[in-house]
């Protein structure tokens, strides 16, 4: 789960990670009041779940009330387009207003779970700032790393060594090492999947301060931290995805025209690949999971046929725990309630497949039924061609 910068900074404050004085605002009036209270100059930062905000004009340094009001009015309530949002951008609902810091150097600090090392890797670089991803590609040696042994945890010497290798004066390196240890503690205690500070600034007094904050929480760990679930911002998610999550369906909207409903994430991705392979494009990813009920299937079909982009629906189920007769009941129930105007192709295999096929055949609905994947693919291709 992603959270906003201002939420991440609230967590930072609890863990003693230095941040600038700041306030949150949802209107130009609030923004001006917050800026006045903090004292100019301040930096106003659009709160959306995407990076590259500076490049899109979502981060503004302002020197007085007039500039603050203008900047807030320009950003709030409007879509912010950054290299990571796509052309439609994201609507900005919240501004973080922060006292401007006196910066002499910008570093990068990040930590994540490195799957190939099966360990948390801490990364730091003197090439902090907006182009760190470019640096990672063109000059990977500029990013220094420390791998944490999971049974030993991050040792103090590792934190200091990392800071020292950045070439910082010893006093500053000690401050950075302390911050690294605090961030690691936060990462472990809150079950994060990513924690990143870019830039991590060194002030003219030689002290580190977190200018930005990015924290991703491991969805699997959220049950351990009910208070962190409150940080979810539904404004940042596609409404159809929110609707699907509410009934335990895993749905992601894509830009093609074949709606697909599949059990299992791997088979769902393979089904999308199959659709692409025959020259069409998937309109979504929809995994109904292993233990789907007839109601969940019905809801899934509902979400698909409501999507105006969908020109054909492909249901691909390999029954295991999810039985084919349960699936077929859900599909028929959905078809009875909904006015389905697009062709529906069903491919069933696995547990209770004969009973499932029988339910589909007995219904008054017109389903295209395929025996295997190859046949299903051809039927999908033909359906899309006729219908577009």
């Amino acid at each position: 789960m992603r959270i906003h910068e201002y939420q991440a900074k609230q967590l930072f404050a609890k863990y003693g990670i230095p941040i600038a004085a700041s306030k949150v605002a949802a209107s130009p009036d609030e923004a001006v009041a917050a800026a006045t209270e903090l004292g100019f100059p301040v930096v106003m930062k659009a709160q959306i779940h995407a990076g590259g905000r500076g490049k899109g004009g979502g981060i503004q340094r302002v020197k007085n009330e007039r500039e603050a009001r203008e900047a807030a009015a320009r950003i709030l309530g409007k879509p912010l387009v950054t290299p990571q949002t796509g052309p439609e951008g994201r609507i900005v609902h919240t501004l973080l207003i922060e006292s401007a810091s006196n910066i002499s150097q910008e570093l990068y600090l990040g930590m994540t779970i490195d799957r190939s090392n099966r360990a948390i890797t801490v990364m730091a670089s003197v090439a902090g700032g907006v182009d760190i991803e470019e640096t990672a590609k063109t000059n990977p040696d500029a990013i220094l790393k420390e791998t944490v042994d999971p049974l030993l945890e991050l040792r103090p010497f590792q934190a200091f060594r990392l800071a020292h290798r950045l070439g910082l004066p010893v006093k500053t390196a000690r401050g950075v090492a302390k911050l690294v240890r605090s961030l690691y503690k936060l990462f472990r205690e809150l079950d994060c999947s990513l924690a990143e500070i870019n830039p991590l600034a060194i002030t003219s007094a030689g002290e580190p301060i977190a200018i930005d904050a990015k924290v991703n929480l491991d969805d699997n760990g959220l049950f351990l931290h009910p208070e962190l679930k409150e940080l979810r911002d539904l404004n940042e998610e596609d409404p159809r995805e929110v609707e699907a999550t509410a009934v335990n369906l895993n749905y992601i909207k894509l830009d093609g025209n074949v709606g697909c409903l599949v059990n299992g994430a791997g088979l769902a991705m393979a089904t999308m690949d199959l659709i692409k392979h025959v020259g069409a494009a998937p309109a979504n990813f929809l995994d109904v999971g292993g233990g789907a009920t007839a109601e969940m299937i019905e809801k899934g079909v509902h979400i698909l046929v409501e999507d105006p982009d969908v020109k054909a629906v492909f249901i691909n189920i390999f029954g295991g725990i999810l039985r084919c007769d349960v699936l077929a009941e859900g599909v028929v129930a959905a078809a009875k309630k909904l006015d389905i105007r697009v062709p529906v192709i069903v491919r069933l295999e696995g547990t209770n497949v004969e009973a499932g096929r029988e339910i589909l055949n007995q219904s008054d609905m017109e389903f295209g039924t395929a025996r295997d994947l190859r046949e299903a693919a051809e039927m999908v291709a033909a359906a899309v061609e006729v219908n577009t």
Binding site: S116, A136, K137, F223, L274, F285, E349
Partner: protein, 288 residues
Amino acid sequence: MSILINQDTRVLVQGITGNEGRFHTEQMLEYGTNVVAGVTPGKGGQVVQNVQVFDTVAEAVQETRANASIIFVPPAFSADAILEAADAGIDLVVCLTEGIPTNQMLAVRAHLDRIDTQLIGPNTPGLISPGQCKLGVMAGYIHQPGAIGIISRSGTLTYEVVHQLTALGIGQSTCVGIGGDPIIGLSFSELIPMFQEDPNTQGIVLIGEIGGSAEEEAAQLIAQQIDKPVVAFIAGQTAPPGRRMGHAGAIISGGSGTATAKIEALQAAGVNVAASPAEIGTLMAAQL
């Protein structure tokens, strides 16, 4: 022959008194799996499907000489269940649980690296040596004993591939679901050499997914050590970057872990990579 499990495997079920544990114990027994014990703390002395239940794994191992365990317990207790099985000297632990916090799995995996216990999963349907032993929740009847080893990161897609092979009259030696989580036990690189050494396995199917670098590492190993034919498929060629596709593991970030990178690495190692998931079975058939 097979790898990891066979007709002599003595199976213990952790969480045997829950709904899932009870149902799949029945299914495994029906398939012919030698289930010798169950464990649920506080339920010792009960009997489930004629299987004796114990309070602790140590006690169950002592009484029944169980050497493999399958875990059906909720995410909050699964990491501990794996460690309990390892501590009791179980050789092979299969953890089906979906949703274990990744931070908890880091220490578990690091500990297992220092001892002899091997882990399959978590977030897997388990593994099966057709006709001998089913240690998982897959439908047994789609499998057929034979000579193809399958290693897969996904569940239902594995069933699809097994079904294609069986329909072509090609049986399987062992099918292993390695699990879809970021931190897992045995991976492609550890299982491929086992199939290479198994005299009964004549070909290997790898089913990978976007995210991580396990397929790239496997490709390197295949190029150096494997002379049996290998067929592969990578799911997620059309997935958009940065989105989580159900499996915690299936996230592409940056340039690494993309389907293209994995396919190129495998092809460079001489692996036949299926372009469409409908062609995996026929591609393997053509190699035999």
